[in-house]
Symmetry: C2
Subunit: 268 residues, 2 copies
């Protein structure tokens, strides 16, 4: 049973990677760009990077890593009391747009198996300019998806996201939040359906949020603000991001892990 779950899960993540790349390529094409993803296969997955005219740098990674957690790191992971073995698979995405009016988008869903098994993931957006309509629109999409599964999800996962994507050293939130969940092990079938819907919602968000703004003009000053905001993104990813830490501690591919870095960033 568990092995079948692994296969179903892995197959979904591979399919999702393709769907996400397709959505990005559609936007690039619409914009008149011929940018393509560069595919990088490694022993435990494949990460794809695009440097486009809409997405300045985007990374879409699938991975399926089986191994043993380092001892100290294992202490933080459920189900490692008897041994540190794990199976993990997931898709993670970061899109850094050219246009500062388009928010940076971050997505991840994953399934992890130790002696326990659970899902985790989330979607969040980091605009560098205030945009109330975008924020409302973005959150209402997330709420709709959550509500289909349980009315309790959206408030709970939105709060988790706000708490998680916070830079204590700056006393700043990273962006406009979104949803974040982890250690989700209520019911495998329901949880998996939810995770699939979160993935499909991200595909819709890419198309909708990016398309609405990608043709808008922007100023040099706005681009400058974006580069400073990207500096904060770098700080968050290297100081706090659990995905980065998980990757560095679980034998991940360094280029795949740090594919989340922006193409460039500034500090004042």
């Amino acid at each position: 049973m568990k092995n079948n779950n692994k296969k179903i899960c892995k197959d979904w993540f591979i399919e999702l990677q393709n769907l996400i790349c397709k959505a990005v390529l559609e936007l690039e094409k619409e914009y008149g760009s011929t940018a393509k993803f560069k595919k990088n296969k490694w022993s435990k997955g494949e990460y794809r990077i695009i440097e486009g005219d809409v997405i300045e740098k985007g990374g879409v990674a699938f991975s399926n890593v089986v191994g043993k957690f380092p001892k100290d790191f294992a202490k933080q992971i459920p189900g490692t009391e008897k041994n540190n073995n794990f199976w993990s698979s997931g898709v993670s995405v970061v899109l850094h747009p050219v246009n500062p009016k388009v928010p940076a988008l971050h997505f991840n869903t994953r399934h992890i198996i130790t002696s326990k098994s659970w899902f985790g993931g989330g979607i969040d957006a980091t605009p560098c300019l205030e945009d109330k309509i975008l924020k409302k629109n973005f959150h209402s999409k997330l709420k709709n998806t959550c509500d289909m599964h349980s009315k309790s999800y959206y408030p709970k996962y939105k709060k988790w996201c706000d708490e998680y994507f916070y830079l204590p050293h700056r006393k700043e939130i990273r962006g406009i939040g979104g949803i974040f969940f982890d250690y989700k092990m209520d019911n495998w079938d329901n949880d998996f359906e939810f995770v699939k819907d979160v993935g499909l919602t991200f595909v819709e968000i890419i198309k909708d949020v990016v398309r609405r703004k990608m043709f808008e003009k922007f100023t040099k000053k706005q681009k400058e603000i974006q580069l400073l905001k990207r500096g904060r993104y770098v700080e968050y990813n290297l100081l706090y991001d659990r995905g980065t830490k998980f990757g560095l501690n679980s034998g991940g591919n360094i280029d795949a892990i740090l594919m989340s870095m922006p193409p460039n960033a500034k500090w004042k």
Copy 2:
């Protein structure tokens, strides 16, 4: 006695901050730039930032922080068995040059008092282009200074530097090394003399290393290499740097701590 040492030490660090700023300003002037340091005073020190034509971004910070370490962090610090109180003072400097033929320079000396008291510090350089003469010249200056105090210092502190400024996730050293030392508590007077000499050597290194290269032409491609190298600098500072961690854990000023960040950086 101890209080007098504190004062002598603090006065030296304030003087050293001025000497370093003066050296940078001399170079800017020689280059034809009118750039000046912007001084930022805060309750526990003063950090100065320059955005010049020779030094694209440079930070020279003096601080004198007295407080209590957070409990978990204190475990890593000597002399905190009975209580977590500390006194610390020091100067730290990062210079990110415009010209990719000039290496980024990093310097720090500090005195820390808990129930024990010690000095720490170092000088290291991060070129983005290979330059054997520069490397030899840089290291011979450090060796000369070390040798005046003890023949054992240079090999020991060079090794420490190589081990410390290493990015395990990239399996790369940060630059061409230099010297690094910590928990130096052999003899207060001798140690303090050594620390002063390290500071003065850094002033000489700025003048010599930067002046030799600052007028040289460089290509767009070389500037690009510099921006990618700065990405590594950011990774190091946020993932591993003890000064950053010390600052974040000891109530430092966030802008003063992250003044070490480059003005901009790129990731592929």
